[in-house]
């Protein structure tokens, strides 16, 4: 369903959950507690695969360049060559790229797969901890159900990494995590993108003020939203200061003061203030995004990206000046007041600003399967509005820019020698309704082959009618 109802339904189903207040841990912090990078460590293992040489394809490198009749080669999970007449290593899989297009894998900066899995019944509604406006202590990764059939559909659409965020009911929804859509694994940790930074999901606007306003508690208004964020960051600033003091003996001698009791909510916010956790901020309206940027200045953190950002086109220069990306839909609009000013040129207008960082995102288990088409729409509408946008440049919205916003650009997002071999072979120009992903390589291993008949990787689907009849 290509509509706002997905988000809406997700939020509403979240509201139906029984409240389950969290209790803070009283563990004494030992080192730096906030990011807790060692907690729930990734057990992702790159799948071994033979070397691959794709010969003579049209290549978009993800950094904005297009190369005709070009080879792409990778081995041991890394890109080893992009150029002419490359020589295949022994035992390589050779793909004839004639007429095909090769791109970096698509990275979706905004997904709830695993947290709101299919089937969307109440028991599976795990994406929104709608119990208090600040749930910075929850982590979206802890709700991920690896059996969500949506992961397989996403890979078939060319997705090789995705950022799973909590829902948007709360001012602070919790931490988001970047995953590899690894199919056929039983644990979330096996999907966790190694060394990818976590994010903090924040939410502007109608959702938090409606959810809590109708409960007659704060925030009930946009100004209540702002007060909620600022008060929380003020507490986190103090928490960080107390942590810092506890680590250093006072200059005048004596023991360092006792560390503050560990608070999982403040751990997350303090991690943001220390630059360890990136802010991904659900925010539709230009005026609210501008206030968000001022809050970030006040408390000295950066906003990696505003998400949905339906009015980003109104402040494209401001966003670019702050180095803040906007993760957007191509054409969603009107499903609520703050989405009323959506235009088809939002993505290209954000892109047109000097150093603008436009991202095509999904927020949808359906949309994630064809983000290339959404980029195609945005490119075409931008061109009709008089902007010059090459198709290879449009691909930056799908791979490099989301990699940048998620803090994984060193590892993936472009077809650069040495980076992870996240590579898609398309049947035709992928900026089209008609192109399909024929082969998807994740970290150098074949993750999807169109038309290959196999049992569904999701245990949930196994033995049900979908793949076991008629095929």
């Amino acid at each position: 369903m290509l509509s706002g109802k997905t988000t809406w339904a997700a939020l509403m189903s979240g509201l139906a959950l029984t409240a389950c207040a969290s209790t803070g841990s009283t563990d004494t912090p030992t080192t730096t507690p906030a990011a807790s990078a060692s907690a729930f460590p990734s057990t992702y293992v790159r799948r071994e695969y033979r070397p691959v040489l794709i010969r003579g394809a049209t290549v978009f490198d993800g950094a904005g360049a297009e190369f005709a009749n070009t080879d792409v080669m990778f081995e041991n999970g890394r890109i080893t060559g992009v150029g002419q007449n490359l020589t295949a290593p022994a035992g390589a899989e050779i793909i004839d790229g004639a007429g095909k297009f090769v791109t970096p894998g698509i990275i979706d900066a905004h997904s709830h797969l695993g947290d709101y899995p299919s089937p969307g019944i109440q028991a599976n509604s795990d994406g929104n901890e709608v119990t208090q406006p600040n749930t910075a202590e929850v982590w979206a990764e802890h709700s991920v159900w690896p059996q969500d059939p949506g992961f397989q559909r996403a890979v078939a659409g060319g997705i090789t990494a995705l950022h799973i965020l909590p829902g948007s009911a709360n001012l602070f929804g919790g931490r988001g995590t970047t995953l590899r859509p690894v199919l056929g694994v039983a644990t979330m940790q096996q999907m966790k993108f190694p060394n990818a930074p976590q994010s903090l999901k924040m939410a502007c606007g109608e959702n938090p003020s409606r959810v809590y306003g109708t409960r007659n508690q704060s925030p009930a208004t946009d100004m209540g939203n702002v007060a909620g964020w600022r008060q929380a960051f003020a507490r986190a600033t103090e928490y960080n200061r107390n942590l810092e003091r506890s680590r250093n003996r006072p200059a005048n001698g004596g023991d360092a003061p006792r560390a503050p009791d560990r608070d999982l909510e403040l751990d997350t916010l303090a991690g943001v203030l220390r630059g360890e956790i990136r802010v991904q901020w659900h925010c539709y309206r230009a005026n609210e995004m501008a206030i968000g940027l001022d809050i970030a200045e006040e408390f000295d953190f950066e906003v990696a990206a505003f998400h949905h950002a339906v009015e980003a086109y109104k402040i494209a220069d401001l966003l670019a000046e702050h180095g803040t990306c906007a993760a957007m839909w191509a054409d969603w609009w009107g499903f609520k007041m703050e989405a009323y000013d959506g235009i088809r040129e939002n993505i290209p207008f954000v892109d047109a600003a000097e150093n603008g960082c436009a991202i095509v995102h999904s927020d949808s288990a359906v949309g994630i399967q064809r983000l290339n088409q959404e980029a195609a729409k945005a490119m075409a509408d931008g061109r009709r509005a008089g902007l010059e946008i090459t198709r290879a440049h449009a691909w930056t919205w799908l791979s490099r820019n989301p990699a940048r916003a998620l803090g994984i650009e060193e590892e993936t997002g472009t077809l650069t020698v040495g980076k992870a071999a996240d590579v898609v072979v398309w049947s035709a120009d992928p900026l089209s309704s008609y192109a399909v992903a024929e082969r998807v390589y994740m970290d150098g291993a074949l993750a999807h082959e169109r038309g290959a008949s196999r049992l569904p990787p999701s245990d949930f689907e196994l033995g049900q009618t979908a793949w076991s009849t008629g095929q």
Partner: protein, 411 residues
């Protein structure tokens, strides 16, 4: 909108050209008739009708000529089924006539009576080549949940060109949820509801009343229960669709169209034999719930090959019926013939919903004609001219005004 009153805005956005004689020349004409595709073809519009379609049509005196060289010329798109015109903004506590609470009026809820031709979603939709739409209310709390209408995207008063076009019936999980949460209760309740409708007004005047339907709804359902109207059935699973087919066998006078049909492909031949058309969302391929376990992307292709009349429908909201074009393109990407996919958003819905003279380009057809800068099922394409009832429409909307206001090169 402090800078322009809504009335003025509506005028500025919606004022179409007067009816005239127009020759669209030298385009790739998709006729949706036995004439097929005419390369370098012409379409002659006189007033509100297509007067001629072919090659080398001479321009009548005074005709305006639209050069369509390198372009595609097609019938206007028919978007089924949505809520366009029933709200300006769907959520946020804004008024939404598609949303009906309580059970005072349900089956009798009439989309045509609520349709507002001034909503900004209409120009937004029209400039994408959609010229007609079927609309229906959302989901009231009873199994018969409202009367659909057929509307033009002209943005003019009198846009509702067919009232009482169809009745919406919830089946499957949605139906069960309205009859105590169980399909076991659904079927006897449906039988009783139809009995109520057929026995209207007698049993209500006698004081017996309805077993299921209140008097208002019984009156509304009656013509459909007697086979004098199309019943649009929201149903997803193959099992439920089979029960619908069996029900149709016992009630051959009833006319159905399936809406949803996620698992229809599993029993494509049975559906083809039943003669029931199927409306589908071609991007639905997830087991969103337990009646959609079999969802897959080639549903449309399989049904079409089996001879089922397929309508490609949008997600049904108030703002994005324009996405039927992308939906149809995706059907092609997943195996449906282009001609069938295009027909499934033009001539097939026109035929199924009884909108004669729409969805085709031939002499005598209503002059809903779109000129495109490329293949209309390709997401990169867009209309360069849209005619509704022979009147050329402005290619502007509230969104294009916002675009122009914030254009990066606006200085």
């Amino acid at each position: 909108m402090k800078w322009l009153s809504p009335a003025l805005l509506a005028l500025a956005l919606a004022a179409p050209a007067a009816a005239e004689t127009v020759l669209i020349r030298d385009g790739r004409v998709i006729t949706n008739t036995q004439a097929g595709v005419i390369e370098g073809g012409d379409v002659l519009i006189v007033d509100n009708q297509v007067r001629a379609v072919g090659a080398n049509i001479a321009a009548p005196q005074g005709a305006r000529v639209v050069d369509a060289a390198g372009k595609w010329v097609t019938p206007g798109v028919f978007a089924a089924v949505s809520q366009i015109g029933l709200s300006e903004i769907s959520g946020s506590g804004a008024p939404n006539d598609a949303s009906i609470e309580g059970e005072l009026v349900s089956a009798a809820a009439d989309a045509g009576a609520a349709f507002d031709h001034t909503v900004t979603a209409i120009p937004v939709t029209r400039i994408e080549g959609v010229t007609r739409a079927a609309i229906a209310p959302g989901g009231p709390n009873t199994m018969f949940s409202g009367i659909g209408a057929l509307v033009s995207m002209s943005g003019q008063p009198g846009s509702v060109f067919r009232d009482d076009a169809f009745m919406v019936l919830q089946m499957g999980e949605a139906g069960a949820n309205r009859t105590g949460g169980s399909r076991a209760a659904y079927w006897p309740a449906l039988e009783a509801a139809l009995r109520d409708a057929r026995e209207y007004p007698g049993r209500y005047r006698s004081g017996q009343g309805g077993a299921v339907l209140n008097e208002i709804d019984a009156q509304a359902v009656q013509p459909f229960a007697q086979g004098r109207g199309l019943i649009l059935v929201n149903v997803e699973s193959a099992t439920d669709i089979r029960r619908l087919i069996q029900f149709k066998r016992r009630n051959p006078q009833l006319r159905f169209v399936i809406n949803g049909g996620s698992e229809a492909w599993e029993i494509a031949d049975e559906i083809a034999a039943s003669g029931i058309p199927v409306m589908i969302d071609t991007t639905q391929n997830l087991p969103g719930n337990f009646e959609q376990i079999g969802s897959r992307l080639d549903n449309a292709a399989i049904l079409s090959r089996a001879g089922v009349q397929v309508i490609i429908a949008s997600a049904g909201d108030a703002h994005q019926p324009r996405l039927v074009l992308q939906q149809a393109g995706n059907a092609v990407a997943n195996g449906m013939d282009w001609d069938d996919a295009f027909a499934s958003i033009t001539s097939v819905p026109a035929d199924v919903f009884g909108a004669t003279n729409l969805g085709v380009l031939r002499a005598g057809a209503t002059a809903d004609v779109v000129v495109w800068d490329g293949d209309p099922l390709e997401v990169k394409s867009a209309p360069t001219a849209v005619f509704i009832d022979g009147r050329e429409q402005p290619l502007t909307s509230r969104q294009t005004l916002l675009r122009d206001r914030y254009h990066p090169n606006r200085n």
